[in-house]
Symmetry: C2
Subunit: 319 residues, 2 copies
């Protein structure tokens, strides 16, 4: 029973090369001895780690947690492991990720981009990269129909009769948020409504800050009758600020969010929001990355549609 025979059998490449008897023998011995092939040796030989990295800005944001859930599940189905890199802030992750990729510790990387991805940088990494929710010239990217979702949200508000619509934007430098903001302004302009500076505010993803920013919007002299938020977490800030001022949702003000994280249904009234299928996005990202790693060309898919989920936080504007 020699080394190569064992390798053949345990890698499933034994058909027509090894006798059934020998094969059985090998399997039994492996079983009894609890033998497990050493991953490092295998990687050294084959160049494949069966591991992919996932870079997200913040796992504690429920949207990313769900995406990670979907990605890990799918990766495991395909016999891959997922390594997590929490970017936390944009300066930290690059060296870490660059080192990880360059050392060949992973076969590829899913990259929830913080910004128009530096292409030189991507190339330097020399591994397969998939970008989620952003365009990248030299890497396959998984796109969402952000504009479509934002447009649906705004049109919903217009259809209800709102004209004084504010925007609470995410203070995060990413294409996806610029798209949400553009859609807001475009739809207003198309409807012949002036875009007012006083109806626009920004906040990071922290409740106290979102609450303050939302409060500024509510305290304008002629206050808005609806607020379109870049993110459900920011919508929570609106709920809090409204409550601070005894402003009722949706009677006095309508609120629309973006993401449809669990919190949307925890809020009272439940939040009307643009639904991002986070787990599905995680799965799709894994599929795209594995295809790239295995050299299967994928026709660039069309952006994932984002339906508006209408709940109780939107209604006709007050008289």
């Amino acid at each position: 029973v020699s080394q190569s025979t064992v390798s053949l059998v345990l890698s499933g490449k034994s058909s027509g090369r090894v006798t059934a008897g020998t094969e059985e023998l090998v399997r039994r011995a492996a079983q009894e001895l609890g033998y497990r092939p050493n991953a490092a040796a295998r990687t050294l030989r084959s160049g494949r780690t069966q591991t992919v990295a996932l870079v997200v800005p913040n796992v504690a944001h429920p949207y990313f947690a769900s995406m990670l859930l979907g990605a890990e599940r799918r990766a495991r189905e395909k016999e891959h492991a997922v390594m997590l890199v929490d970017a936390a802030d944009d300066h930290v992750w690059r060296p870490a990720m660059a080192a990880t990729l360059a050392s060949r510790a992973v076969d590829g990387c899913i990259f929830y981009s913080a910004e128009p991805v530096n292409e030189t940088f991507l190339h330097t990494l020399g591994r397969h990269v998939v970008v989620v929710e952003a365009h990248a010239k030299d890497a396959p990217s998984l796109l969402l129909d952000i504009d479509g979702g934002a447009t649906a949200a705004m049109q919903h508000l217009l259809a209800l009769g709102h004209t004084r619509i504010a925007h609470l934007g995410a203070a995060y430098p990413k294409e996806t948020f610029r798209l949400r903001f553009s859609a807001y302004r475009r739809i207003l302009r198309q409807a012949g409504i002036r875009v007012r500076d006083a109806y626009m505010a920004q906040s990071h993803f922290a409740l106290p800050e979102a609450r303050t920013a939302a409060g500024q919007l509510l305290d304008v002299s002629l206050p808005p009758t609806a607020i379109f938020c870049d993110d459900d977490l920011l919508a929570v800030g609106v709920y809090k600020a409204a409550r601070d001022r005894s402003i009722r949702i949706p009677d006095d003000i309508s609120v629309v969010g973006f993401d449809d994280i669990d919190i949307a249904q925890v809020l009272e009234p439940e939040l009307t929001t643009v639904t991002l299928p986070a787990e599905q996005i995680g799965e799709a990202a894994i599929d795209l990355l594995l295809a790239a790693i295995e050299g299967r060309e994928q026709a660039p898919a069309s952006p994932i549609p984002l339906p508006l989920t209408i709940r109780r936080s939107t209604s006709r504007p007050p008289q």
Copy 2:
């Protein structure tokens, strides 16, 4: 310029072995060529992967997401990567984890146990294992003062004057939840209050089910004036069920949760809950695991205290 010299320099073991000039030379060359040591080869030689696995029941639960955040941050500080395994349900993770550990793809594993850990199983793995929030005979474990937290919560309710206190338990087979339940019964008994079956319900971590279970508690003929929940997510079910019945929190019923996830402050009124320092727990788990891997013996630390955070969901019982 030979292989071993390069190795010496780049592993930082060059002091007193390599001339400053040569060292500089090597570094510069490595820099220019963009040389990165191959992780697999290094692992094969050294036996260390610089990677640890983290097994959690469900990353989409905010508590675990935060724990993961803390763990990943600390691991990166210590130059380790974190591989995520989402157990999803208790049957799936074992083979996956066993394979990962046995193949030496990771140096160790943090295991948020689903159950009194099967010790034979742990040993089979043959790698370092740290168990969080559960006792394990043969592995270092990171303990939380669950009983202390639950006791504080119950005593808070008693101190407010409640005697009809219900318990909404998590339908999840884990020591930590049994401890919460025992504390509930013990405190009632110590206060001379009869433990009523009608005041006890269970639910999985799904809002519709939690809402139904909470509803049953509220619909008892002599309803409770307070509910102690095993988890903040279950407390959300109570809020929903109360709202369905126009029962006011805290005027008609007080609610206490467990975890202090972000949702606790999203709820209105904000939830009184037992605070688990999730990120800190993740960090501590990494510290414990790395200590074990590096052979540093750690005196078993005392359980992490869990303070009760009192917010607006608890008050005196109605007259």
